[in-house]
Amino acid sequence: MLRLIGLKRPKGKLESAEFNEAYYLASQRQLVWRKFRRHRLAMSSLMVIIFLYSLAIFAEFFTINDYQKRHVAYAKAPPQALHFIDEAGNFHLVPFIYQLKQELDMETLRRNYTEDTSQRFHLRFFVKGLPYKLLGIFDTDIHLLGVDAPGVYFPFGTDELGRDLFSRTIVGARISLSIGFISVVISFCFGCLIGGISGYFGGKVDVVAQRIIEFIVSIPQLPLWMALSAALPPQWTSIQDYLAISTVLAVLSWPPLARAVRGKLLELREADFVMAARISNMGDYEIIVKHLLPSFASFLIVVLSLSVPGMILAETALSFLEIGIRPPAVSWGVLLQDAQNIRSLSQSPWLLIPGLFVILTVLSFNFLGDGLRDAADPYKQ
């Protein structure tokens, strides 16, 4: 992978004797971590992922405006630029924004926004605003950023109803980022169970399982996902929807996982230590749990991190088609619904910003997975 991105593979040949000793004495975990740290792209992707997930976890803290409030006076406002230098050419250390001024174009009846340079609002940090519960436990009303009233700040602009896209994107990260994990966990259980049984027992069980896997892999996923999620009753609550969608995503995505697990198991089954365990009369279950699972845990982590992005993309696609997560619940796919046609897109292209977050997340997970794959086998030079 390193080579693919074009980074030079760090010089792995260790000449000095003491380094060699450290290398041989290090535990596997230390070696994996050491190797992973060298993969710069994967490390920075890990940072990005941690950043995105903390945005999601502390979403209320990072939001500037209430994500559901309709600022009717500022509907379809474009993203506001942060300024450091004012009209007079003076530099300000704390960035500021100008008040938005709205004009109605009498010909097209479109609202045009201009900056009113006479009104300046400086960004403020840790401002008091809408009260919320941090992590669902602590009552507080501190937000990271804000401006004094009557100023308003929309870093990503607003949608048709005047809702703050920045705050909505952050809140939407909650569903979009977590649904990938939940469905991966579900499909992982399926995959491990079926792949494990198939790889461990082999023979007829294996043949049947392989045929089922082949069958599901040969079905185009999206149309079937559409059919399954269109089947969800419309009166369901957002939480029910959320769980159902993650199950739907998992139902069709376990086969590749199962296949990978099976392949690895077939390889491990022949290993000497498994044979030894079998000779010493260990039960099947015990062998699987005590010997096989630990020896390919690292492999599983790699497969998992590489299958999260697929789930995130799928959720986005389904919600975009209005058969996934439904408003008023907010996810990145739901936000992209607003950009569905060329008319709204040409008037407010900033509605695509949530999509940039999707791309960033998917890219980061891919790089992270590649780095993990390199690191998972630290003995390979």
């Binding site: 069958f215 059919a227 399954l228 089947a231 975009f320 950009a339 695509l352 999707v358 791309i359 891919n366």
Partner: protein
């Protein structure tokens, strides 16, 4: 070889039958059916309650009074005779509705596959032979973004660019004047003008993946001893490259057709919905929302059949291309 082909064929037929069962069950999952939505709409429009016996009669007329397995048997019997039931929503036989759309769906999928290979193979070879060059970096970055960008978003962005910079509306597959015109050379020309956007959108994700695979395998091959031996014997660089390493590196590309095809059909579905293409995608979407049972089942079945055919063809191609697999089969 012949027995292998025969085996694949039998397996394919079995797969197709399984597909019909699964699709039929899946589309029966939503609570209520077409009739309940229809009656609700009727009552809303007329403001009158429909009598219970009228509802019964309608239900019988639509065949919705039968239990699930009987409905399946009835429908499958029709399918075997080349009839696919009646679309409640369009009030037309399903067979008349889907023909042209399926052909277009298949055309787009195949053209996207060709596009994918035509772009991925030269670029993959280039970036493997010019490792760490500027072009290699550019291709890698573009490839990764291609992998990460959702299909529909790429479609939206291209639409936006087309609209903003050229004032073009790139949705649809035909200009308005050809929409209902009978097929003619002019209509085909018009179609060719509109095809590139969906093909690029559908093909991009697969292209990015293939470049990655091809580059990786080719790099492994290029470091092998037989390449060095050939070079030391004075084989020219171009001939050396294409005679051995590229041929070996193409194997995973051929076998990739098996996963590429389902993903092309999937990608094609959502792209078609965004771009408003007259393919199976948007019709499937609408029929899912209106619970138009037979139309949904038939579309889902055909879309899957297209993929199963694609997968089977790729398996057979792989056997033809790779002598090692051929030998293995002959041995067993």
């Amino acid at each position: 070889m012949k027995s292998y082909l025969f085996q694949r064929l039998i397996y394919m037929i079995f797969l197709l039958w399984m597909v019909s069962v699964v699709t039929f069950i899946v589309i029966q999952l939503p609570p209520g059916d077409y009739l309940s939505t229809y009656i609700a709409r009727l009552e809303q429009n007329t403001g009158q309650q429909l009598a219970a016996e009228d509802e019964e009669a309608l239900r019988r007329q639509y065949g919705l009074d039968l239990p699930l397995h009987l409905r399946y048997v009835k429908w499958f019997g029709q399918v075997l005779q080349g009839e696919f039931g009646f679309s409640y929503d369009y009030q037309e036989p399903v067979r008349d509705l889907i023909g042209e759309r399926l052909i277009l769906t298949f055309t787009i999928a195949i053209l996207s596959a060709i596009f994918t290979y035509a772009v991925a193979i030269p670029i993959g070879i280039y970036s493997a032979t010019h490792q760490y060059s500027f072009g290699d970096y550019v291709v890698s970055i573009v490839g990764f973004i291609g992998l990460a960008i959702p299909n529909f978003m790429l479609a939206l962005i291209l639409l936006y660019i087309g609209f903003k910079s050229f004032g073009l509306n790139l949705t649809g597959l035909f200009s308005p004047e050809y929409l209902y015109a009978p097929w003619s050379l002019a209509k085909i020309g018009d179609l060719l003008l509109h095809l590139p956007i969906p093909i690029i959108v559908v093909g991009t994700a697969g292209t990015a993946g293939l470049i990655r695979v091809l580059r990786g395998t080719l790099l492994d091959e290029l470091n092998k001893q037989y390449v060095i031996t050939a070079r030391s014997k004075g084989v020219g660089e171009v001939r050396l490259l294409f005679k051995y390493p590229v041929r070996v590196a193409l194997n995973p590309i051929v076998s990739s057709l098996a996963w590429l095809f389902p993903s092309l059909i999937s990608g094609g579905t959502i792209t078609a919905i965004v771009l408003g293409l007259p393919t199976a995608g948007p019709m499937l979407y609408r029929s899912l929302l209106t619970q138009d049972t037979f139309l949904t089942a038939t579309l889902l079945m055909f879309v899957t059949i297209l993929t199963v055919i694609g997968t089977t063809v790729s398996d057979i191609l792989l056997v033809i291309v790779d002598p090692r697999i051929r030998m293995e089969r002959a041995a067993s």
